[in-house]
Amino acid sequence: MPPTPSESLLQARDLHTWFELRRWGFLRVGEVRAVDGVDFELGRGEAVAFVGESGCGKSSLARTLLGLHVPTRGEVTFDGRHVESLDREGRRWFRKQVGFVQQDPYGALPPFMTVRRLLAEPLIINGVRSRAEREERIRAALEEVRLTPPDEVLDKFPHMLSGGQQQRVVIARALILKPSMVIADEPVSMLDASVRVEILALLRRIQEARGLTVVYITHDLSTVRYFASRIFVMYAGKIVEKAPVDALLAAPQHPYTQALLAAIPDPDPENATREKAIPGGEPPSLVHPPPGCRFHPRCPHAMAGLCEVRIPDEFEPRPGHRAACWLHGRTEDDRGGWPRPSADSGPEAGAI
C-alpha cells in the first residue's frame, strides 16, 4: 500500500542525475542521463525493490539517494529535510540515518583492516569515542547478522571470510550506526545461490525487527518476492511501473515489465520448448535516449506518432498500481487524441 504522507520517510522529486562527458578534460560533449526524472515516495519501515536491467540507472539512483552523487536536477527529501541543502551537522545526521550495502562484499571491505577495525570506523567517524562502547556495539552488530560468536571473526581480515560472511559483515557495518533506512545495491548478486536466500532472509528479519526502510536494488525479479512489499521497475533512467509485489507479478501493466517477467527462467520442463515472446533490441543509450517513451523502439504495442514523440505520463490503471505508459491513458485526451488500443493487443493480455 502506498504510505500516507505522515508515514513518509523519503521522497524523490523529479530526480535527475546526469554525468557530464568531457573531452580533453574541459570540452562538454554530452551527458549520461543515468537517472532522468524519477519521482517516488517511501514510507517508514517499508521495503521496496528497484528492478531493472544492467545500465538502467538503478545503481546511480542508489548513490544519488545516498548523497554520493549530487542530483543534476530535482531533490531528495529525507525525514522532512532536503538532503542537498543540509549543513555539516545535518549531513552527519543523514549519514547516520542511511546505511549502504554493496554488491561485491569483498570489494566493499577494506582488505587491510580487521573486522573489528572496519566496523569501528563508522563509529569513530561519527563520534563514538569510548572504546568499550564501540566494542559493545561491534559485538551487538555481529550478533545481529548472526556472525556468532563474534570473537571468531573480530580479528580476521576480510579475505579470511567466506562470501556470505563478508556480506554479513557489510550488513553489520551498514547497521552499526542504527540507521532508519538501508540501501542495498544488488546485495546478493555476487553470492552463491545457496547463500542468497540466507542473506535475503537475514535482511528481511532485520528489516522487520528494526522497522527499517529498505531500498533493495536488483536485476533479479525472482529474489524480490522474498523481500519487498513494493516494486519500482526502472528502464533507461526512469521508473516505468510502481506496484505492490503481488499485483505486479500477477498483472504487470507496462510492456517492459511484462517482458522482464517473461524472461524469468521457467523450471517447468513442459515449457522447455515453448518460445517466449520477448522483445528484441538492446537497452537504449543513456547518452542519446530515444525521444518519447524510452521503451518504444522495443515495445510490441508502440503507437506510432505518440510513443516516440511524447514522454508518457504516469497512469494508475488499478489502485496503487501505476505505470508510465500511454496504453493506460483513460481518455483520449490523456493519450493526446489517440484511441484506446484494442483489448487483445493491450498490456493486460500479456499478463502471466
Binding site: L68, G99, Q102, Q103, G107, P110, R173
Partner: protein, 443 residues
C-alpha cells in the same frame, strides 16, 4: 600490521635479506655507540682540527697496514720532561736546567716528523735554550740555540740548515746509521735530545715535550691536518644514515600524500600536480643543489630540505597515481563515504594503507641513493662545512691528491663504508621486494 609482521618473518628465508639486515643493524649499532661515545659537539670540535691533533702525525696510515708489512711502521713516541731526570742549578741571575729527553728507537722505519713542544713560564725575559742530539753510537749533533716563547714549537724536521748538514731530512738523518746517505737505515738504540735552558728569573720554569711522529696512527690513519680519520669515519655513519633516512621518509611520505590527494580530488588539482611533476621531472636536481650550495648555504639541513622539496614532485607521483587510481573507485571507499568519512581520512586511512606494503621495498632501496647523493655533494665540495662525513673525507683526499701520493687508505675507507651501507640496504630492499611482490619470487 600482522601481515607486515608475517612479511618480515618471511625475510628469514632469503640469505640476502639476512645479510642485508645484519649489515644495516650492525651499522645502526655502530652509529648509536658513536653518537654516545663521541657526542656531537665533541665531534665537531675534533673535526675542526688544530690543537687536539698537534701530537698526531700527518698523513699517517691506519695501524692495520702493519699486519701486511714485513717491516713494521713506527707509532708515535712522546717524551715529556715530566718523566725525565731534570737537573737544575741556581745561578746568580736565575737558573740553569738540563732536560734529557731520552727514548729507545728500535723500529725498522724512520719516523715521519720530529717536533719539540715547549711550555715556558716567565715574567719578562724569555729563557734561552741550547739543543743537542745524542745518538746511541756516541755522536753529538748540535741543533742550535734559541729563545722560547710561552708556548713554543721547535720544528726540528723543518730545519733546512740541519737537513743540509745531515744530507737527509732531519727526522731521517738524526736516526740513521752514519755513512750511507743514499740508502738510509735506522740505527737502533737509545737516543737523547738534551735541552739546556738558561732561565733568567728565579720563578721561571720550562717544560719540554719531544714528539717523534710515527707513520701509522689509530685504526683509520690521519689526514693532512693531522685529524684522526676514525672520528669522521665513525661520525659519517650517523650523518649518512640520518640524512638518507630523513630524505627517504620526507620524499616518500609527501609524494605519497600529494599523489593520493591528487587522485582523490581529481579535476584541476590532479591536473596541476601532474603538470608540476612533469616539469619537475626534467629539472636536473644535482645542478640545482650545486647552485644552492654555492650561492646560498651548504648546511646539510638546507640540502636535505632541497632534496625533499625537489623529490616531492618526482616520478614517484606518477607511479603512486597509477596504483591509486583503481583504488579510488574501490567499493570500500564508496562505503566509507557513505558512512561519512572525510577526504583526509579517506586519503590517509583508506587509500595509502592499501599500497604501503608495495612501497616498503622501494623505500628501503631509496635510502642509500640519498646517502650517495649527500656523499656526491660533499665530494663536489658542497658538503656541510662543519660535519664530519664520508663524502668530506673523500673531498679532502681528492683535494690533497691522496691517491697520487699513495694515501690509498684515505679514499678506500670511506668508499668501503659507503658501499657497505648501499649494499646492506640494497640487499634488504631486494629481498623485501620479493616478499611483498610475490610475482618476483620465481625469477
Amino acid at each position: 600490521m600482522r601481515r607486515l609482521a608475517g612479511a618480515f618473518r618471511q625475510l628469514r628465508r632469503y640469505p640476502s635479506a639476512v645479510a642485508g639486515l645484519t649489515i644495516v643493524s650492525g651499522l645502526l649499532v655502530l652509529n648509536i655507540i658513536t653518537v654516545i661515545a663521541i657526542p656531537y659537539p665533541r665531534a665537531l670540535e675534533l673535526w675542526r682540527g688544530g690543537e687536539p691533533w698537534e701530537m698526531h702525525p700527518a698523513y699517517a696510515r691506519p695501524s692495520w697496514v702493519n699486519a701486511f708489512r714485513r717491516v713494521n711502521l713506527p707509532r708515535t713516541r712522546i717524551v715529556s720532561s715530566r718523566d725525565a731526570e731534570v737537573r737544575s742549578e741556581t745561578l746568580p741571575s736565575g737558573r740553569r736546567m738540563v732536560i734529557p729527553l731520552a727514548f729507545d728507537y728500535t723500529d725498522g722505519a724512520f719516523p715521519s716528523e720530529i717536533n719539540l713542544f715547549l711550555n715556558a713560564r716567565f715574567e719578562t725575559r724569555e729563557p734561552f735554550l741550547q739543543l743537542t742530539w745524542h745518538t746511541p753510537d756516541g755522536r753529538t749533533v748540535p741543533l742550535g740555540g734559541r729563545t722560547a716563547a710561552r708556548t713554543d714549537r721547535v720544528s726540528i724536521s723543518q730545519d733546512r740548515a740541519l737537513a743540509g748538514r745531515l744530507g737527509l731530512e732531519p727526522h731521517e738523518g738524526l736516526l740513521a746509521r752514519p755513512g750511507a746517505p743514499d740508502d738510509p737505515e735506522v740505527l737502533p738504540g737509545r737516543y737523547e735530545l738534551r735541552v739546556e735552558a738558561l732561565l733568567f728569573e728565579a720563578e721561571a720554569d720550562l717544560e719540554a715535550t719531544l714528539v717523534i711522529y710515527g707513520q701509522v696512527h689509530g685504526w683509520a690513519g690521519t689526514d693532512h691536518q693531522r685529524r684522526d680519520l676514525g672520528v669522521a669515519l665513525l661520525w659519517g655513519g650517523p650523518v649518512a644514515m640520518a640524512f638518507g633516512l630523513l630524505a627517504a621518509v620526507g620524499t616518500t611520505l609527501t609524494t605519497l600524500f600529494i599523489g593520493a590527494a591528487g587522485v582523490w580530488f581529481g579535476g584541476w588539482i590532479d591536473a596541476l600536480i601532474q603538470r608540476v611533476t612533469e616539469v619537475n621531472m626534467i629539472l636536473p636536481a644535482l645542478p640545482i643543489m650545486i647552485m644552492i650550495g654555492t650561492l646560498y648555504s651548504q648546511s646539510i639541513w638546507v640540502m636535505l630540505a632541497v632534496i625533499v622539496v625537489l623529490g616531492i614532485f618526482s616520478a614517484g607521483i606518477k607511479m603512486y597515481r597509477a596504483m591509486l587510481l583503481p583504488i579510488r573507485e574501490a567499493p570500500y571507499i564508496e562505503a566509507a563515504r557513505a558512512y561519512g568519512a572525510g577526504n583526509l581520512r579517506i586519503i590517509l586511512r583508506y587509500m595509502i594503507p592499501r599500497i604501503l606494503p608495495v612501497l616498503i621495498p622501494g623505500f628501503v632501496s631509496l635510502i642509500p641513493s640519498f646517502v650517495f647523493l649527500e656523499a656526491s655533494l660533499a665530494v663536489l665540495g658542497l658538503g656541510d662545512p662543519v660535519l664530519p662525513t664520508w663524502g668530506k673525507i673523500l673531498h679532502d683526499a681528492q683535494s690533497q691528491s691522496a691517491l697520487y701520493h699513495g694515501h690509498y687508505y684515505w679514499v678506500v675507507q670511506p668508499a668501503a663504508l659507503l658501499m657497505l651501507t648501499g649494499l646492506g640496504f640494497a640487499m634488504l630492499g631486494f629481498a623485501l621486494d620479493r616478499v611483498f611482490n610475490p610475482r618476483l619470487r620465481d625469477l
